[in-house]
């Protein structure tokens, strides 16, 4: 039993390791996973597209708003500058004489109240200084006639022009970055109306700071150009001048209000152009796409991990589910395998999914049927053999009948009427018990009676060459025994033990119950047997022709078939001393039921 137990266990790891692509578990796991990945991917792509589009839209809107805000501030500031210019101009206009100190005072006050205001200057169209606030020495080599504010004032005398930011190099003291406002105006010099160029320099600092503060992502920035494309403000102005940076101004100059994508620098950038209306400056917001759409990156990350988690969960789940499905099947398979190896006694475990359970049940049912059929076959086989034996049993050796009848004839010839009667009576009784209505089992009493009649016939035949005794315990008499078990043994004792003896022989038959077993001994004082002969007797090799036809072997076999291997014959023999045969049977009181069982 142990060996059988170990077998499947040892095979188990090998089974687990062998990866069968067609196994249910693999098929389910793979298809589950593939399907889920497909669905998740689809959903992710859709979500991703949707999200990124919204994020991009939001980002661009946001940037446009920022730039719009800056633009708004700039416009306000420029308007403020214009207002100051108007104030200065008005004051100059109102003054009858340009040299009057009151004007200088007024303008000085104005300059002090407005921090941004750097200087005010009035020049003749030839470039001669007429009035300057604050009153500082002019520098030499100012080249003012080449400066843009001077040139535009001459070219467009009516229009208030804003210069690009530049260094104020007119007055001694500081070099300041300024935006110059200039126009041709009229002033009175000692009552005389003259034309002059009024220059108001405004510190560039405010615009610089305003622009510098614009932050569009980490790298993004804003720059300002004037209507000619000159850089007003650019955080990387020097790099552009050095040729290390490049700004695609053409597309910026074309439009006054626009948002678009630019790829001219190699990196995708989102450009927003707004125009500062009064002066035609353009404020340009530059945002790097990879920065403003940070959500894209986050989303990528999220979707990636989402996929990983989903796949992991699905794999785990499908492994679990498929194992749940395939495990009972495998168990069933293993059980079937055990059955196929010949073990019909272990029932199959019933469990798992409904189908598998049903399958197991049906299989168990089938197994049960097979077992039944097998039992039946064994039974039938046994019955067949028994009937064969019965037939054998029924065969009475004609020799015995012939010998007996011969002796009867001889007795009759000699006129021994009484002995003839005894012999015939015994023969008649002998046969009656032999047949005993076809029954297989009889009481010990009957069996003993049977052998007694046989012995009577034989003693007459052998002219009292031997004697016999039959003893039986009272309680043993009613015990069940197979019929025709003693006669072959006695026959054997006579033919092999007593026949050739010179002295008078004897046969003792005893029946008694010992240790809950019925024991019948047949002892004689015949020639005895060699062990070889005894073995041959039990194996059926010796069959004497004069006997009843039922061999000793037959007796042994019949006992064992009916009662089991614990019962049967045993011999004890010594040459020239005698033989003792012991029959061991179970103690079964004779009744109708036993009789039936014996019949079947």
């Amino acid at each position: 039993m142990k060996i059988q137990d170990k077998r499947p266990k040892r095979k188990f790891p090998a089974e687990k390791l062998s990866f069968n692509v067609r196994s249910i578990q693999v098929i389910i796991t793979l298809s589950f996973t593939l399907l889920t990945i497909l669905i998740v991917l689809l959903v992710s792509i859709m979500l991703y597209n949707k999200f990124t589009r919204t994020a991009e839209e939001n980002a661009s809107l946001n940037i446009q708003q920022i730039i719009q805000q800056v633009n708004y501030h700039l416009e306000l500031y420029v308007k403020g500058m214009q207002d100051i210019y108007e104030v200065v101009e008005e004051q100059i206009n109102q003054t009858a004489d340009i040299d009057r100190p009151i004007l200088r005072e007024q303008l000085n006050t104005l300059l002090q109240t407005r921090e941004d205001l750097v200087s005010v200057g009035l020049f003749t169209p030839e470039g001669q200084l007429i009035l300057d606030i604050p009153n500082v020495d002019m520098r030499r080599n100012t080249q003012l006639r080449q400066q843009s504010w001077y040139e535009t004032a001459l070219e467009q005398p009516k229009k208030l022009s804003f210069s690009a930011p530049h260094i104020q190099n007119l007055y001694k003291g500081k070099y300041t970055w300024v935006v110059s406002l200039s126009r041709m105006i009229q002033y009175k010099d000692r009552g005389e109306l003259k034309q002059g160029i009024l220059l108001v320099d405004v510190n560039f600092r405010t615009i610089d700071e305003l622009s510098r503060k614009v932050s569009l992502g980490k790298k993004g920035y804003a720059y300002i150009i004037d209507d000619l494309g000159n850089i007003v403000y650019h955080p990387q102005q020097q790099l552009i001048y050095a040729g290390l940076k490049y700004e695609n101004l053409e597309s910026v100059l074309e439009y006054s209000f626009r948002s678009y994508m630019d790829n001219s620098t190699g990196e995708p950038r989102f450009i927003t152009v707004r125009t500062v209306e009064p002066i035609g400056w353009k404020i340009v917001g530059v945002a790097y796409l990879d920065e403003i759409v940070t959500t894209k990156k986050d989303l990528n990350q999220f979707i990636f991990w989402f996929l990983v988690v989903v796949i992991a969960v699905v794999v785990v789940l499908s492994i679990f589910v498929s194992a749940k499905i395939s495990q009972p099947l495998r168990r069933l398979e293993r059980s079937v395998k055990i059955v196929s190896e010949g073990d019909f006694s272990t029932p199959i475990h019933v469990g798992g999914a409904y189908e598998v359970e049903q399958l197991s049940k049906r299989f168990n049912f089938m197994l049960h049927r097979i077992r039944q059929l097998m039992d039946q076959i064994i039974h039938e086989q046994e019955a067949k053999r028994k009937s064969e034996l019965d037939v054998l049993q029924a065969q009475i050796n004609p020799h015995f009948l012939y010998n007996t009848l011969n002796s009867v004839i001889r007795l009759a010839e000699r006129g021994k009427k009484e002995e003839v009667t005894t012999t015939i009576t015994s023969l008649s009784k002998f046969f009656r018990i032999s047949l005993s209505k076809g029954k297989n089992t009889i009481t010990l009493e009957e069996e003993l009676e049977h052998v007694r009649h046989y012995l009577i016939i034989q003693t007459i035949r052998y002219k009292n060459k031997f004697k016999y005794t039959i003893e039986c315990e009272e309680e043993a008499l009613n015990c069940t025994t197979l019929k025709l078990i003693l006669q072959p043994i006695v026959e054997n004792a006579i033919y092999h033990g007593l026949e050739q003896m010179v002295d008078e022989g004897w046969i003792h038959i005893r029946a008694f119950i010992q240790n809950e077993r019925l024991i019948i001994t047949v002892a004689d004082n015949g020639l005895g047997m060699s062990t070889q002969v005894m073995e041959q007797l039990l194996s059926g090799h010796i069959r004497h022709t004069g006997g009843s036809g039922v061999g000793v072997k037959n007796v042994n076999e019949r006992i064992r078939l009916l009662y089991g291997k614990a019962y049967g014959l045993s011999f004890e023999s010594e040459q020239e001393v005698g033989t003792k045969v012991t029959i061991i049977l179970p103690v079964i009181p004779f009744n109708m039921e036993n009789q039936e069982r014996g019949m079947s």
Binding site: R140, T142, Q146, W177, Q301, W305, I319
Partner: protein, 325 residues
């Protein structure tokens, strides 16, 4: 039973890996936008030149996602202080160091030390005597000297008598400028360099030396000052002596005072470098060095000759006056 435990354990493994990977996602997120720490150690923590360098460096830092630390001793001569700052940066495990060495030789050792700790060193503006420096970003001083000489010869004619006001003897930059200047002058046999002086980067000394030079060589009709401080001292002294215009002055760098004197006609021209680009390109090179990209051994930030004619060109205005105040 064994099967079930096997299954359970595999489930556990999968779940735990998922969990671990989820928590790990934070780390990978930061990796894509690593902040690189670059320390910039300059000769002095004040002065317009270095402020402009810083401005350029900051623009690059913003562009390349760099955490920039700008450091410098109080004084340009404080070599010990600069070495200390280098050691600090090495200890602080900066990803890269940009060094503008006050002394060519004395900062070599600490530079090697930084290289030993696998910190790439970019030298900027002034070189250092170490072979471990990844790249030099700065002016070609020899060419700058030649440029100054060319203009001065043009101004003084081929019979010029020229004085040279260098700043520190042994300073790499000064030496190179002087060498370039001298090599160019040597082409003109009749042009003489009558005097070479070193003002120790001190305005006052520069004034004294100029006075001395003028007194000793009255025939001198041209003078070149090889750095900012020397330029201010020399030009102001020339103006004070009232010989402005007769003695032509070529200056270096563009402090307001020099620009003023340029407009006054005392200084005829000034050679300017591009500190903004120095700072910008140095940081750019540092980032490349951190990333392990190939970097140029020398990055030349060009010099320019500024005179009255071109000083108001927009691109020069920005170079001359980098700050909006």
């Amino acid at each position: 039973m064994r099967r079930v435990s096997l299954f359970k354990s595999s489930l556990l493994i999968v779940l735990s890996t998922v969990l671990v990977s989820c928590t790990g996602s934070g780390a990978t997120l930061h990796e894509s936008s690593t902040i690189r720490r670059v320390d910039m150690i300059v000769k002095m923590n004040h002065g317009d030149f270095w402020k402009t360098v810083k401005m350029g460096a900051e623009v690059a830092a913003k562009e390349y996602n760099v955490d920039l630390k700008f450091k410098g001793p109080q004084n340009e001569n404080d070599i010990e202080g600069q070495i200390q700052l280098m050691d600090e940066s090495i200890k602080g495990k900066a990803d890269a160091i940009i060094l503008s060495a006050s002394d060519y030789m004395k900062l070599a050792q600490v530079t090697d030390r930084a290289a030993f700790y696998k910190i790439p060193v970019i030298s900027m503006d002034s070189e250092v005597a170490s072979a471990r420096v990844k790249s030099f970003v700065g002016t070609n001083n020899y060419e700058a000297g030649q440029m100054a000489a060319e203009r001065l010869v043009m101004l003084t004619g081929e019979q010029g008598r020229i004085g040279v006001m260098n700043f520190v003897k042994g300073s790499k930059n000064g030496d190179e400028r002087e060498e370039g200047f001298m090599d160019y002058i040597a082409r003109y046999p009749d042009v003489r360099v009558v005097s070479v002086e070193y003002c120790e980067s001190d305005e006052q000394i520069a004034r004294t030396l100029t006075r001395k030079m003028v007194a000793e060589h009255p025939e001198m009709n041209g003078i070149v000052a090889l750095n900012e401080v020397a330029s201010i001292g020399t030009a102001e002294e020339i103006q004070k002596l009232g010989i402005g215009g007769r003695v032509k002055v070529i200056a270096f760098d563009s402090p307001d005072k020099v620009m003023e004197l340029l407009q006054e006609g005392i200084v005829q021209a000034t050679v300017i470098q591009n500190p903004f680009n120095n700072g910008y390109l140095a940081v750019q090179q540092a980032v490349k060095a951190i990333e392990g990209d190939d970097i140029q051994e020398r990055v030349d930030t060009h010099t320019k000759m500024i005179d009255l004619d071109n000083m108001l060109w927009p691109e020069n205005q920005k170079l001359l006056f980098p700050f909006v105040r």
